[in-house]
Amino acid sequence: MRHSKNYFFALLVGLLFWSGCEQKIDIALDEADTRVVIEGWITDEPGPYLFKVLQSGPYLGDGADVLVSGASLILKDDMGNVDTLVEQRAGWYATTHIQGQQLHNYFLEVTVAGKVYKASNYLPRINPILAAGYEYNDSLIFGAGYYVGLVAQEPAGIGDYYQFRFSRNDTAFHTVSDIFVTDDRFVDGQVSPFLYPYPCRLGDTVVIEVRSLSLASYDFYITLQQQGAGTGGPFASVPDNLKTNFDNGALGWFGATAPRRDTLVIQ
């Protein structure tokens, strides 16, 4: 329903108001003080896991990352394991030995310039991909081509959340419109398919991935979908800051997930 809103409106305006147009304008925006941004995920696959520390910048402009060196990062779990991360290159920090496990909680503590930022997350369960395949479809919305999909047994019980990721010929699809997250309200306990909405050609190599998300991470992606798409008119979502699970004013996300993936060659 969420997506239908914008789609619906775009279509309506497009259809009805052919006289409507767009115009590039110059606008001066206020600039806020920079904030610390921390991002990284622990998975149930072998590490090391990479974490990134950077600074927010002006909204207009090139948006290049301003990485932050010399931060201290400590990752712990609820079983007593502690890992102090090492800075690999400026702003990028790697774990040394910790390994994520499903159904456990993880805690990240980051110190930047004497200030401490904490976040925690839960690594939820996932079932394996039962089958993956592709089929030809001349979809009206996404175009004609081969569409790749997977089938998995969704575990019984409401409260599982997923993200679907896609890459083709080593190019990952990671814009706002490539975010596909879902809860299990409509498919609880069912053998459920998911079809990636990217038409592929013969010879393409495709990697499909499904990741388990905690409720907090799911909410994070929902706000990322809404707010990452930019500000809009009376029909857009109310502009608000993206969720963060760091305290003390830091931005970004500390995630925990169990990813499952499969590789296919269209032939």
């Binding site: 590039k24 948006g63 053998v191």
Partner: protein
């Protein structure tokens, strides 16, 4: 007890006061109906006056009046808007029933009249913060795409602001769009817009000419919404002759048939409208666009039967739907349906009773195919059953009482998701909520002296959320659900009630100027779950519950009213202050659809608004229209938004100017123009940004801390009537007219919205490489939108 006296003592004293003024002289009652001589329809608001004793009465909304005076011989004068005045000489030695039939003034009369009998309603009436509109008047003004729209016209009034360019949703005096009550023959219309707000659901051809918008000083008979009441009535149908009228327009066509079932006894009116927004799509090159269906239609019907002089029966209904379809992939329809059955009964020549049974329904449905080929449907809505009884008691010429009851059963369907056929999808229901909303009220309009009149009233409203249902209990953070209480059918889950005092007073300073003041408290027990700025048809109404408290507003207003140049010009200034409690908003990213624990997504707070409204209006002569200016401020403060600090409400526009005018050049040609200017809509712009999971996201500062550019627009219209119009015989004749309009005549690119987009650009520092930059774009919707409409009547 002491506090009761302190609080309500004033009311008690006033009520006693009027009881003693009813002294025992030999008095008789003159009562009856005032009607349009040509159509036989009631003229609500017509004045019946006995000048020699300086007394009079206003017809109620069914055209009934009652006037009690000492026996004797009198000239009785009846007046109404643009109708010719009627004077009857009567000898009152017993109670008399006297009906009046008034004729509309011909063009010649209107054109030459320079001074008229004192038309001083603006000054002498008790109404303040009320806008009275006439369809006759607004038909002469430019209409968007030729569609005469009652809601679009009220947006030109002071204190009323459209939600967005071209959208029929509106804010009244700093309130929210969902705090406006819209009534059609007393039935609540939940979603008054078609095509996501670009047209209102009201077909002007099916409506009675006069309608009112209450922005403040709302009479006690109205409740359920915080901000305003728009009270619309369908036409009753001509009781004398058959008529067919209609129009062919650029974007829709209309047809209305009305006439007597039994002459002067019973009449009917049916009206239909079909919009064809998608006709343009047939010309599209794109096959997918050609396959898209998008339109709306609506029907109005009314039957009216005068059983006797004492009894009248009305039945009316509205049904409207929007349809949006794309091949087999999705089909979407939504709309309102209302039905009213009304019985007017005269218990005596002083006691008028109006009993109404109402059904009101809003439905939203969506059927679609997923990418995997599975089909599903989604449905949501709300349905009300209402019974109302309103009594008007014409106590004596100095007192007119109104009292009544109001009871509604609401059924809320928050949403049902159903897979169709064999599917891996699971059915999902959020169980319906039920609530009973009731009220009793009484009010009295009292003339204290020649200079002072007042209306005081009290409404006591109750709201019970009732079973079957489940109530969840949460910890103080609302993050964790503790336990669930299950309620049986009919059991009260949560009860709220409260008093809503209403008061207005008018002091006549001189013959042509007055001061008025009013206070009102309003309560709203229903809340709209919406997290976009405008409302969508799938937005969900939720009842007040243990977790969501009723909204309460208090408003005070004072005004100065002056008529100038022999009442040719009506001028007024009003100042208001409004405070709103228990306002709700939603958390960032809130899931509003199919969410059984919606209360966990709610944020609560308060708001206030104040402003000054200036109005100058000319209602007679070849040139009519108005000039209005509003200076206002509206603020909201919600815990969890803007760090809990107050911020400008979406309805905030500091300056708002409207000019509307029409000029009758000759009997056949009329030109109209409107010009609006408003400060830009408040928006939240980013103050920084950062990249997370490869997406660059904005970092926002203060909520609504910036403004869109100021808005202004000129619309023009030209109406040319067919030649046969002035044949003065009253037999059936063909009338026709051409209407040409141009919306946004000087083509200003008014910003509907401003958004930011990522774009690739050559890197000036590294030739051959590209960098990503963000640019601001404004979307503007309508420039020079022309339309032609042909209207006819025979």
């Amino acid at each position: 007890m002491i506090s009761f006296v302190r609080k309500w003592g004033l009311w008690v004293l006033i009520l006693l006061g009027w009881a003693t003024t009813t002294s025992a002289q030999q008095k008789y009652t003159l009562s009856g109906y005032v009607r349009d001589a040509e159509t036989g329809e009631d003229l609500a608001g017509a004045q019946v006056v006995i000048p020699s004793v300086g007394t009079g009465a206003l017809c109620n909304s069914y055209g009934f009046y009652s006037l009690t005076v000492v026996g004797g011989e009198y000239d009785v004068v009846v007046r109404y808007a643009s109708f010719e005045e009627d004077t009857v000489h009567l000898r009152l030695t017993q109670d008399i029933t006297q009906n009046f039939d008034l004729r509309e003034k011909s063009y010649q009369v209107k054109a030459v009249e320079i001074t008229d009998e004192a038309k001083t309603d603006n000054v002498t009436g008790l109404d303040m913060s009320v806008e009275k509109m006439s369809l006759r008047e607004i038909r002469k003004l430019p209409a968007f795409m030729g569609e005469v729209d009652v809601i679009r016209t009220i947006q030109l009034l002071p204190g009323v602001i459209p939600v967005g360019e071209g959208i029929t949703g509106y804010y009244v005096r700093g309130g929210q769009a969902n705090q406006n009550l819209v009534l059609l023959d007393n039935a609540t219309v939940y979603n008054a817009s078609h095509l996501l707000g670009f047209f209102s659901v009201f077909n002007a051809d099916a409506l009675r000419d006069e309608y009112k918008l209450y922005k403040g000083g709302i009479p006690a008979q109205y409740g359920t919404r915080l901000s305003s009441v728009l009270d619309l009535h369908m036409k009753e149908g001509n009781t004398k002759q058959f008529h067919v009228s209609g129009g062919l327009g650029a974007i829709s066509s209309r047809l209305t048939v009305e006439g007597p079932i039994a002459k002067d006894k019973a009449s009917f009116m049916v009206s239909g409208r079909r919009n064809y927004a998608d006709v343009f799509l047939l010309a599209a090159k794109d096959e997918n666009l050609r396959a898209t269906k998008l339109f709306f239609y609506d029907f109005n019907a009314k039957v009216n039967w005068r059983i006797s002089e004492k009894d009248r029966l009305f039945a009316s209904g509205y049904f409207g739907r929007d349809v949006f379809k794309f091949r087999k992939l999705f089909a979407n329809d939504w709309g309102n349906a209302t039905g009213s059955l009304r019985w007017n009964h005269l218990f005596s020549d002083k006691l008028f009773n109006n009993a109404t049974a109402i059904v009101s329904d809003f439905f939203y449905g969506f059927e679609a195919e997923t990418f995997t080929g599975d089909r599903f449907k989604f449905e949501s809505g709300i349905r009300d059953f209402t019974f109302k009884d309103d009594v008007t008691w014409f106590v004596n010429p100095k007192n007119q009482m109104q009292f009544g009851i109001d009871a509604t059963l609401h059924k809320f369907n928050p949403g049902v998701f159903k897979p169709l056929g064999e599917s891996f999808l699971q059915e999902l229901n959020v169980s319906p909520d039920y609530a009973a909303e009731t009220a009793i009220y009484a009010s009295n309009e009292q003339t204290l002296s020649e200079r002072v009149s007042m209306v005081y009233g009290l409404r006591w409203s109750q709201f019970a959320q009732i079973g079957p249902g489940e109530e969840y209990n949460y910890d103080s953070t609302y993050e964790n659900r503790l336990d669930t209480t299950t309620y049986k059918s009919g059991e009260i889950i949560k009860l709220y009630h409260g008093l809503e005092p209403r008061f207005s007073v008018r002091y006549l300073v001189g013959a042509h100027n007055s001061i008025k003041a009013s206070y009102m408290r309003t309560r709203q027990y229903l809340h709209l779950a919406s997290n976009s700025t405008a409302s969508f048809p799938w937005d969900i109404w939720v009842p007040s519950s243990r977790h969501i408290q009723p909204q309460i507003a208090d408003q005070v207003a004072v005004g100065y009213f002056q008529n100038l140049f022999d009442n040719q010009l009506e001028a007024s200034v009003e100042l208001y202050y409004k405070s709103m409690q228990n306002q709700i908003d939603f958390k960032n990213g809130a899931e509003l659809i199919l969410n059984p624990t919606l209360e966990t997504e709610i944020l609560k707070g308060k708001g206030h608004a104040y402003g000054a409204e200036f109005m100058l209006r000319k209602t007679r002569g070849p040139l009519t229209g108005w000039l209005s200016y509003t200076l206002s401020n509206a603020v909201r403060q919600i815990a969890g938004i803007n760090n809990g600090l107050a911020y400008p409400a979406n309805s905030n526009r500091r300056h708002d100017v409207s000019v509307a005018g029409s000029y009758q050049i000759n009997p056949r040609i009329n030109v109209g123009a409107t010009w609006v200017y408003a400060s830009g809509r408040p928006v939240t712009f980013p103050v920084g940004g950062y990249r997370v999971d490869s997406v660059f996201v904005p970092l926002y500062g203060a909520r609504n801390g910036s403004k869109l550019p100021d808005y202004h627009r000129l619309d023009l219209s030209l109406t040319i009537d067919g030649k046969d119009r002035e044949t003065a015989d009253h037999k059936r004749r063909l009338e026709s007219s051409w209407n040409f309009t141009c919306y946004n005549a000087y083509g200003r690119r008014n910003a509907f919205s401003v958004d930011f987009r990522e774009e690739k650009k050559d890197d000036p520092n590294h030739p051959g490489q590209q960098i990503t930059v963000r640019n601001a774009y404004k979307t503007y919707l309508f420039r020079w939108v022309p339309s032609i409409t042909w209207n006819f009547k025979f």
